[in-house]
Symmetry: C2
Subunit: 317 residues, 2 copies
Amino acid sequence: MEKPYVVGIDIGGQTTKIGIVDHHGAILSQTVISSTYGPDSGDKFMDAVCSAVQSLCSEVGFNKIQGIGIGAPNGNYYTGMIENSPNLPWANGKRVFLKQYIENKLTLPVTVTNDADAAAIGEMTYGAARGMKNFILITLGTGVGSGIVINGNIVYGHDGFAGELGHVTVVKHNGRRCGCGREGCLETYASANGVTKTAREWLFSGKYPNSKLAEIEEITSKDVYNAALSGDELAVDVFNFTGHILGEAFANFIAFSAPEAIVLFGGLARAGDYLMKPIKEAMNANVLPIWKDKVALIPSALKESDAAILGASALAW
Amino acid sequence: MEKPYVVGIDIGGQTTKIGIVDHHGAILSQTVISSTYGPDSGDKFMDAVCSAVQSLCSEVGFNKIQGIGIGAPNGNYYTGMIENSPNLPWANGKRVFLKQYIENKLTLPVTVTNDADAAAIGEMTYGAARGMKNFILITLGTGVGSGIVINGNIVYGHDGFAGELGHVTVVKHNGRRCGCGREGCLETYASANGVTKTAREWLFSGKYPNSKLAEIEEITSKDVYNAALSGDELAVDVFNFTGHILGEAFANFIAFSAPEAIVLFGGLARAGDYLMKPIKEAMNANVLPIWKDKVALIPSALKESDAAILGASALAW
């Protein structure tokens, strides 16, 4: 019989969030531990995770926990491993047997996937995509990730790594250099880093002598958003440019899987109409006529601070 | 209990092929009728299909037929209709209730899908993709179509029209005008028509004064292939250019669904290494490092003359 709670674990570069979640997506209790362990300390990190889960679950009773869902960078659903994650020193250039290790230690079923797939499952279970069978979630954070849902299931592909939509090529010639080693990836333009890069490039070009952003030494995407709010022309144009690139890319994604909606998740998604409007325009201008004005564009419905735990927890149902 | 035979029907612009097929993909008998009926003659066409099926099946016995699979341009799996197919005058600008009409008349279950999806199911059932759960079939014919298989199932999407990969935008600025009303679609470069268009443009440019293709009045993609075989520089360059555009597009498709293979189907796929080699090069040069040399590129394994019937028939199992 299904038990009333699951554990959601979101492993990030700096911290790992752990929470107990019920069927309605309410977080009963949560805790945060550090993810910053050294290159050979994967086991130590996983021991710390297990201890934190044990003390958290002792409150509600271990026998009421259905299972554990973990979202992690480069987490692989098929193998249950983190496979070479450059942002986690203990998983850089190696495979960490996350599922196997934690299952052995806690004797609870563990499901692993990457962070964007976890977010998509979270939206489907508790958020903006409830009741949807076909949608694409795009995470607009430091990078750009994606979780693709077809027929109610996450697309993992042949090897478990499907849904790398941050790395479709959107600029073919002289595109920006990407962390993946290639050029012109969507992520280099449409992530928070991409937005600040565009802003810096345009400031440097001298075309916007009056932009207030010139006064800021280390521009963040939040600075660009705040500048847009106050009417700064450069900032508004940066969001138009970014939205346009996203909308063009979304038109191609729609030709692939004909989703009911595209859900935007992550920090940049909070830019609201500054970003949503140009995305919608470019999406509808570039999509096949049969899908014009047919695919919804919606922001995440999960509370930002809870979204990571909720997404991971949804894996465990 | 499952019966030993199915009927496969492939509706094309000029002719409709009908065949009886067994579990091994052998065609027991087949026939061809005309598809060229006038704007208000959809019922007449469907009556002719039903008569042809009845006389074909009388040989093996109607009670041994499991069902009927139909591949048709703009055939919709969900609705069982042909929805606005410009190449079929009796289905142009309207919906034809194919499944409903034929089921009523023949009292056999009917499954409808579009031609590229039928081809993908055919390859999965009898051809190059047997045993595969995740692959993408690309049809390189007059146009460019696609059938996407994820987890062993065709991707139909929210509305039944998913998999329009011939209409992803591959040239963003000043791209060729496409029949769909947009510009720069993959189909305008990588179809048989695209190949001949490229050849004509390059002949006209004067850069290839020695090409034998200059002697041909109405160049076809077969002429370009024959010229390539005899070492014609323009023809070889046309295939390199076409293959490069396809390979770049495939790299993006792989980021979406991480397929085990991409299967090439249709006339242009017979150009062999003239096309396969540049596709492979561009695909591996543009794909994320994790997929480099990991995704197979394979030609269809179905006999060209039988492929359409086999593909449609596979729907009925």
